[in-house]
């Protein structure tokens, strides 16, 4: 960068661009930034958030391409800000961008985990044996209420209402309910969340 100072103005750098020996690396970097920018612009999220991100990405792309074509420009901006070199300035910006990325992805992952938890809990409850499938509490020691819920089981009995038949192997359901047993509630279809 210092051995091969670039022209001081953008138009100057453009005239020198094609014949410069930096041409190929510059082309590769610009294509890379363009591709990354397009990929990021295309991803979907909340409309407002998405618009802001698209503007930021566009600004980032323009600045990045400018710095690639005129490497000394970054150094001039860095000097202006009291930072020694353009490369240092880019490093600082990268650190900030990285921390921002960490923070936003941490939040996103926490949200994702919350949804997975809710999904798994609802699945577990939908497949849970109802209290009335169990034998008399004092005589069901040898009668497991239901075989294990295997992940390969087709979800044929998952609905909250009306799944009165255990999947098989149930020997514990008495024909008469013992007194004092809590009655099952029919709350099928209730959306608790």
């Amino acid at each position: 960068m210092l051995l091969n100072p670039a022209p001081l103005t953008l138009s100057g750098s453009l005239t020198a661009f094609a014949s410069d020996n930096r041409f190929w690396i510059q082309l590769a970097l610009i294509v890379g930034i363009g591709t990354a920018g397009v990929l990021l612009l295309r991803s979907t999220a909340g409309a407002r958030h998405q618009a802001i991100r698209r503007l930021a990405m566009t600004a980032f792309g323009v600045v990045a391409i400018y710095f690639i074509m005129a490497p000394s420009a970054a150094t001039r901006v860095a000097r202006l800000l009291g930072v020694g070199r353009g490369a240092d300035l880019l490093l600082y910006a990268l650190v900030i961008a990285f921390l921002g990325y960490l923070a936003s992805s941490f939040k996103r992952i926490a949200g994702l985990e919350g949804r997975i938890t809710e999904l798994a809990r609802q699945l577990a409850l939908a497949q849970a044996p109802r209290p009335d499938h169990l034998g008399d509490p004092h005589h069901s020691q040898s009668a497991p209420a239901e075989e294990g819920i295997h992940s390969s089981d087709p979800p044929t009995r998952g609905t909250a209402a009306g799944s009165n038949a255990p999947a098989g192997g149930s020997t514990g359901a008495p024909s008469s309910m013992p007194t004092g047993r809590p009655a099952p509630r029919d709350e099928g279809g209730r959306q608790a969340f």
């Binding site: 985990e113 919350g114 997975i116 938890t117 798994a120 809990r121 699945l123 577990a124 409850l125 497949q127 849970a128 044996p129 109802r130 209290p131 169990l134 034998g135 509490p137 004092h138 069901s140 020691q141 040898s142 497991p144 209420a145 239901e146 294990g148 819920i149 992940s151 909250a160 004092g180 809590p182 009655a183 099952p184 509630r185 709350e187 209730r190 608790a192």
Partner: protein, 226 residues
């Protein structure tokens, strides 16, 4: 015979890899409390089958989610599918004494309490180590600062919660910080509560399984960064 207070009470036991003891724990508990829902949190051993064989209703998480999530699933099970008036949260590792749990339900009923928290520091039966005592007392102090409840113990898994209070609980901390979260949410309800003395049976087994002291760092950070 089932004592009357146990007839409308369900035990909620979060279960994760406790095959060595779970059958005994449930069998013993069911001598007092016939209704037990065991939330198997994706155990890799045969804990779930053993719990089922011991006569518990077993609700199985398809993947491991954490003890907080398991408790919430148990609460949801009880409120959706039973008419239980009280829920007892009970540990799977055999630390808790069903007699203590029964005393808590009896007390909740006679004093019209919505919540009874177990505390190992109200009598001399429990002998925690100095380091454990320090961590628990610190956690109790932090809980007191954030909720205003003057609890003597923290992270005690034995609690009695009445149905109306149960519906106020929405555990979001999947991991171990849920214990303070439960206290905080119950404190918001302003419902009447009390502490009851419980004996924590520290066995070699429970000591080996129990939360390490380092984990209290995680609990604290989880709570502060909520």
């Amino acid at each position: 015979m089932t004592p009357a207070p146990a007839a409308n009470t369900w035990l909620v036991i979060p279960l994760y890899n406790e095959a060595a003891v779970i059958h005994t724990v449930i069998t013993e508990a069911r001598e007092t409390f016939p209704y037990v829902v065991c939330v198997d949190d994706g155990s890799r051993d045969d804990s779930a089958a053993l719990a089922r064989a011991a006569g518990a209703v077993v609700v199985q998480h398809p993947i491991n989610l954490g003890q907080g999530a398991a408790l919430q699933t148990g609460f949801d099970y009880v409120t959706r599918f039973t008419d239980a008036e009280y829920v007892i949260t009970f540990d799977a590792d055999g630390q808790h004494d069903p007699a203590d749990a029964l005393a808590m339900v009896v007390r909740a009923r006679e004093a019209d309490l919505a919540i009874v928290y177990g505390s190992r520091f109200l009598d001399k039966r429990t002998k925690p180590g100095a380091a454990k005592r320090l961590v628990l007392k610190t956690a109790a102090f932090v809980t007191r600062l954030s909720t205003g409840l003057r609890l003597t113990d923290a992270h005690n898994g034995l609690r009695c919660i009445r149905r109306d209070a149960l519906s106020a609980i929405r555990i979001r901390q999947d991991g171990m910080a849920h214990a303070s979260e439960i206290v905080s949410q119950l404190a918001d309800t302003k419902l009447p509560w009390e502490e009851a003395p419980v004996h924590i049976r520290y066995t070699d087994y429970s000591r080996a399984k129990g939360q390490s002291l380092l984990n209290s760092v995680n609990i604290l950070v989880d709570l502060l960064l909520r």
